[in-house]
Symmetry: D3
Subunit: 330 residues, 6 copies
């Protein structure tokens, strides 16, 4: 099983523990990006993965590559060139104090990607899944074009495509709107992560409930077989409740609700869900189990420092089976 | 708006995380002192502040000055001289294990202050508030005398004065009792932080409820316009509930109750309340809002390592408005 | 009061905080072993202790000795020789993610101990208690033989003996079964920590309740005066409930139930109970108080990093008296 | 004595010790910028300083302000606005391995400065010195314009001006050449740090020796009273030799040569020289002593982590007086 | 260009900086093994590499794999199975205090390898070089047999083979002597790293000088085209001098002598030489340049923490060209 | 062999590496005191030791005890009582920047010792050596009296006494001069560490050379059999040269000169010499070897972080034998 992901990877810099930026003198390094996070999670679950991206050709770009490799993601398709390494600064909150992110990703090497730089044909040949998110087309025309080429190649090669249609309004700075760009990308997708307000805002597709909105999306984009979403109840920065649902065209499969306390690191928990769901759909012939596996994966990610889910199949299955006792394993 | 504070600043030394002294090999440095903590909080809220104190004239005294400056507190009135830097050793507890403090502040440079060393006239001219606490007069005759001179100067210049009349019996070692010293300091105060048992013990002012005791204080000390106090319910070292109330001569304004879990650092949370309250009284024409703002400030302080509250106005207002969800802010 | 303990001490290596092995680049060192953990706890409580063990004769073996000495345990009976230092790698979990241990203790210097290496006569003369656990006889014939010699010497000298009959099936690799070895070790014990399923599995002693099983044990092993056990309800890796009970031949003394949140370090909490109980039995003439003291000791250990309980008598008594408020102690 | 400096301040991120980027998981934070480094040095020497710059209006910009304040630099003239915080990544070398810098400063908040944003009149009124470097005009038209306005205001107010005419060719990206920009900035300077090849390249001013080139500069720019330069002999990343010379229109004053081993941090050592020289010129009426003081300051900076020189007057004078014994001071 | 290496990889644990084991409470993690060190170096130089080894199938074995991957070494041929992860404890010295190693590698997963476990045919097909050392056959019969199978397969496929015939007498514990095992492994080697005393001890091949001994080795083992060795002059733990020589059957090519001060990490510097030499022989058609490149690579390794050389081709060529100035590179 | 030492132990707090106080946010903990340093060194060399001191009865006093125990020093004679724990703050220099100490030891628990608190009779019975320094009588009358009682008891019991007559003028604050106090302490000493200017200043004993001054001391104090001193040539904070000499009444035995570079930690190197010398005098019947052993011990201490020498006999003998190559020991 081989999964290809495409998107920017940023250097994440955060103070130790729950210190604030104004008081810290050192920063912990992680690397992350929503699509690469999915790739790392899937690599931990034992799938073959490769992440397609573009890094600056200097020591920090090489460090980013090393990070992906360390966690088992194939980096043979990484391109190196001009531009900076995208960064984000994360201050981790606690209790009633929210975590905060300062992005510093403008004009990154990734955003300077051009549509002809990636040889999608060779990359996607033999792949079993291709995953993208709404962050990529928001970054630059080149990124949007490259992505579209990737999705269309996947379609031609019969590779299933998942899209997390996350929309961050402050990213779309290059002169195009998501309404112009997103529909073409959504064509040919098999699985969409989103909710009814996004469907309405991005595509004008409306539905008063998740199921109706999902059904409407499937009518508008006939290749879509699954629509999924997560639900988070934020009680505090240290305490959340989480569940997920998956509509397969006939049934909405709902996961159990996880009560998550304490939260070690909330970043990348949505990507952990997506990775778990993709793993489930590729591995089990059972949408209910796939959504349960994805939710358990996401719940476990909350306990792991960094952007990426380093949980194993065994750990996820233990939690999915209802054992959240955290009993010492010798 | 300019606020002047006066008091000792100590070097705080604590093991990393929740380690115990007997097992640690390194100590984390912070600086703190109840009055300076108020100044730092107010500086974060955007007010101009200056802290008046006395440090030893060596590298550690300079480090203490640097700490105050880093957080925006004016240090132009700091005096340097003989004596040591006061210290305290803090071991942070968790759950059922209490935090512990070992004080080592005897004969500090601050306690050697003399009443003529501070030019209160020039310091307080143009100030909008002066804050002191019951720690200062407990340290030495010179500290008590200097404080009295400051309060009287403030009165003469029409600068409102707040006093947190905290009483630590083991501090009063120089031959005077708080009953001899505190009344003169309380004369001319605008705002007092204390409770009925303190009022009774220090001044012989009795009242069976907070409101009655407050009323009695106002009769005894006619300049007092506000009496305030906080209420803490300690469920464990990691879980507290907190609220505050403010009596303005007619009404007791009560804040909402904050459920605080987990507690990152409990030290300085009372000072954070005081700073928030002073900010509120200076900024809003609304005692209820001031006490709410102070309580929210104090609640947030529990999530921040160190003695000082590094929360911003926006963060406090968000919490005050009822959003304790801790949702990631991008 | 002097307590002698006997068993292996391992170097414990764990990533900082709640990091996973695959992501960490440094490891925190502690040392621990179930019997030595009891000795350290008792030393913190003010008793004289000495731990009998065998370390490799190199810098790491010397470091292990230094660790025991740091916490007040006598190391005059430590032997040095060939073999490795036993290790274990601990990954600390959080919430729904369990802590994990990878043991690496095969062929340790301790397991190479021979029955004639220890001069039990001189060690136990003047001792007030001797403690062992079921880990030791599982490691090697030499360890089992040495232990048996120790217990028999204690019996001859009239030193009370406690045994925690913990059974780890994967340890018994040297060709003997616990059913062959454990009964002779249990002869002559005064106090046994275990439960009815262990009694049945190891000795064929059955009883449908704790009290009945305890009574049956006392019939089978007439020297036993106390049977004890702890009960843990694992809600998550960060949240447990704990209590203990002690049967003295007539009554089952039950402790209060501690709700423990957050858990800083769960390792060694059973040993902390055992140490507290031994202290209680040696110090108070009151089994109920002993079991309460042991339970409070164990509850506090959950808040302390490392394998060993560094709580003091005062702290334990405060908690035992019902004060779990974690209020700052100045 | 009050010195004003103007220029960009960057967040410096470096691996601990001499680790390489590809192997590190954490970064140490410092802040630095050639002009601000001069201000910090001067503040340590006891002068009043204020640094004029522009930071992004977020937590990291506020951290940069806090850094300057911590070391006593006035930040009352800092502007906040759009744009990023400039960064640089420093890998510290050792022996034959060179230190390496990756700059990431494009489109910083500072480079977005506009010439009307700074109220030079009020800032420079009462100042005793104004310092700039060739980095600033290389960053953007707005930075060059702002600087020119500052220099001209200083001239009008009679404030002496020093310029370090460092030229980094890769910085000049906004369409103007240093040959177009630098001459107008150099008009009205009192002190120039540069060498004959720079004089030739930037201004077409030639001279076959330092003294002749200096004389030619003074003819071309009649306000110049001093021309200075440092000389570094790099034996390895850990071992350098350093000296300086100052031409005052009649004599070349040469400092002693410092043999520097080991080098703790080479960054900012030129700025330390400049600060020491400015201090010397402002304080001693003796060019020889000024250049000696500057050289000793620079030599000491090599022993101090970070960009800024935290040496005191006493320490510099001790070294200047020939005592490089490093004897413990109690 | 693709290089295959084969051998054990150990977890290296060392105190921070130059602390001693008896005083440290934390350990820094690296992974290393002489053959894998060669692979990592070559990967940094841009060659394709894959390391063949056997790890335990648990989190630490997976961490070891991640370490190799992070630095670009292919891990597709790593086997997982029973046994422990080999460890070594390194205390880094300084000046007159020597570094010390405590090995703890007995019965590792690697030593349990069996000769049929590795599919050498597929691994070595298409490879350009195969490297082994004398550590491997010292560990177990299975390791020796596996290695012999690898060398013979390489010979059959025409892949050049290098052997570092390092001899550690304390390793050979499984009943065979190096004199029995090494000759068959040396058959078919192209390049041998060793000296005349080793040649004599292991093979009875004698020669009174390096060149004569090399010539004798080539007569005894006709496939050998190169014999090489390094020479180290240890002035202190912080100061060494290093050079290398390469005999190609006609000429002894000697490198320049590097004066290395300070030494950051001496471990793996021989492996760095070997990697540089292999790179040189594969890339340049010039034995002199190859030995110079190898020596420069080794010299740089002394400045890099950990077992592996993270120097780049550019850095090595700069040093090889004589620039050891360590000048800052922007 | 059992050695008793007596004196204050202070908590040493220092920034990591070579950071300055004004820039650090954490401090590394060590404990040290000149006499206890001797005891720790001797314990590493395998002698039985016990240190007599007085600590405050709180967690930090207990930590100090734990520190001594960790390194094998007997703490059975430590007294606990009122007063503070003495502190000193150490900033470690490099190259031309000197290390700096800020003492904060006034009114320590040790200085409050009373002459009747120590049962010297039982402590010194069976001892083979007693060591003191000139720090102790400088601290308080009680300390001086206790020391005198100890020396006199040692004399009565026939225990040899060594005194390091270090004189720090700023310590003598309690109203007595060293000229009043030191002679009585020096009576009955066997070995004195000092130089001719000290002999002259403290006792009025003059001699124009070391040998003449030593001879004069032996005339004045007939019990003295050895006079010793070290000689340090400070080239920089990172580079020293060190040697020692010992006069035994007939011959001056001089050690070789050690060139020490780099210096890791210079504190306690004199105490390391003293410990080595005492060990040598107790163990070898050869004054020359004793002074060589002491010097080698002192040279090694410069490479070890902290106040105490953790070198072993083997390491010292290796260096003493002339091997300063620092070659890796496996």
């Amino acid at each position: 099983m081989k999964v290809i992901t495409f998107g920017e990877v940023m250097l994440r810099l955060s103070p130790p523990g729950v210190e604030r930026f104004v008081q810290t003198d050192s920063l912990t390094m992680h690397f992350g990006g929503t699509e690469a996070n999915v790739a790392v999670s899937l690599a931990q679950l034992g799938l073959e993965t490769a992440h397609v991206t573009r890094f600056p050709d200097h020591a920090l770009g090489r460090s980013a590559t090393g990070y992906l490799r360390r966690y088992g993601v194939g980096t043979q398709h990484v391109r190196y060139g001009d531009g900076r390494l995208g960064l984000y600064f994360l201050e981790t909150g606690a209790g009633s104090r929210a975590s905060q992110i300062v992005y510093d990703r403008v004009d990154s090497a990734f955003s300077r990607i051009t549509s002809t730089e990636i040889d999608w044909e060779s990359i996607l040949t033999g792949a079993d899944w291709f995953h993208w998110t709404g962050i990529t087309p928001a970054l630059s025309q080149g990124a949007a074009d490259s992505l579209l080429a990737g999705i269309q190649t996947a379609n031609r090669l019969g590779v299933p495509v998942s899209g997390d249609i996350v929309y961050r309004s402050n990213l779309w700075q290059y002169g195009r709107s998501p309404q112009e760009i997103m529909p073409a990308l959504t064509e040919g997708c098999t699985l969409i992560l989103g909710n009814k307000s996004l469907f309405s805002e991005l595509y004008g597709v409306v539905g008063s409930t998740f199921i109706e909105a999902g059904r409407a999306m499937m009518r508008r984009f006939p290749t879509i077989k699954y629509v999924t979403d997560t639900k988070r109840n934020s009680l505090s920065a240290s305490h959340n409740q989480l569940s997920a649902k998956l509509y397969d065209g006939s049934t909405v499969h709902k996961s159990r609700v996880y009560d998550i306390q304490p939260i070690v690191d909330r970043i990348g928990t949505g990507d952990a869900y997506m990775a778990g769901l993709i793993y489930g759909l590729l591995t089990f012939n059972d949408p209910q189990r796939a959504v349960e596996f994805g939710s358990a994966a996401s719940a476990l990610k909350h306990t792991i420092p960094g952007d990426v889910n380093l949980a194993t199949v065994t750990e996820i299955e233990t939690l999915e089976a209802g054992d959240s006792s955290g009993k010492l394993r010798r």
